[in-house]
Symmetry: C2
Subunit: 198 residues, 2 copies
Amino acid sequence: MEDSKAPVSEHGGETSKAAVLGVAASSGSRRAATRGLAVLDLILRFVAVIASVGSAIAMGTTNQTLPFFTQFLRFKAQYSDLPTLTFFVVVNSIVAAYLVLSIPLSIVHVMASRAKYSRLVLVFFDAAMLALVTAAASAAAAVVYLAHKGNARANWFAICQQFDSFCERISGSLIGSFAAMALLLLLILLSAAALARS
Amino acid sequence: MEDSKAPVSEHGGETSKAAVLGVAASSGSRRAATRGLAVLDLILRFVAVIASVGSAIAMGTTNQTLPFFTQFLRFKAQYSDLPTLTFFVVVNSIVAAYLVLSIPLSIVHVMASRAKYSRLVLVFFDAAMLALVTAAASAAAAVVYLAHKGNARANWFAICQQFDSFCERISGSLIGSFAAMALLLLLILLSAAALARS
């Protein structure tokens, strides 16, 4: 008999064999679905890298010099004038670096769809990076809001009235960071779904 | 025979029964460990509720009136003067409400330790709330930093030099929110670990 090495009792061979085949078929289609999730995970990671790198570059390269100056002062604005925007550039670079490093692990998950503990590690670090990029994006958004609107009660002046193109640039660079945030949220959901399926 | 209703073939009863008992024993100890994770999850949720409610109350009830005033102005500071701090109070209330609503589901997980899809829902909403509370806490932190240090390049004045007790209070109220953030990060890890074990 061919299936004598299988861990089913030899006497009930016919029914057991059918049951084993059924389990194999259903776990096969399950594995294919989990592999689909892993491929989607890989694609989203690439998009998130582009979003956060784009965000860091857009913020890091912005500066504006006003066309008038006094004897002592040149009116020049760049991201490093505001510590929060420096934090934004640093964090987006860190998150992009993490995402690049996580891509090999994501490729492993496409091959080995039953991996559990490496997925668990990814969920944790994805959540930590979600917190980090959200912190940077919203702190920068709070400062950009102040730059646009100012605050009458605190006597903070709306600097965007002078530095208009600088303000447009720093507002735009927030988009990539918020996109990376949404993608990381999706990545956590995908990893958790893969864990629930395995 | 007692186990005739069980889905094992009757002929190989002895070996199959032993195998089933072995599986049951190992899944029993596994289930106990998963239940331990679920109890920890429940406790952390209670702590996170206290942290975020405390944070919202500390920020919401703060105000300071300076002991001098002119004919037209009274110098008074409260959280609603800065939109970012209003956002902070609103988000902390929302997160606290979500955490309270999630407690019944967490209790269900202590009983039914094999629940998968409800854990998946919790992971997703926990991650969304993590993003929300991080956004509020770090936007408020950015504004509190400006209130303390000001910014010479943007001509933003450090209002904490006048409103000292107001500033101490709003700085302190950030702690609860950052604690809630760390707890939510742990809760995501716990749910993912429970999913990996089930």
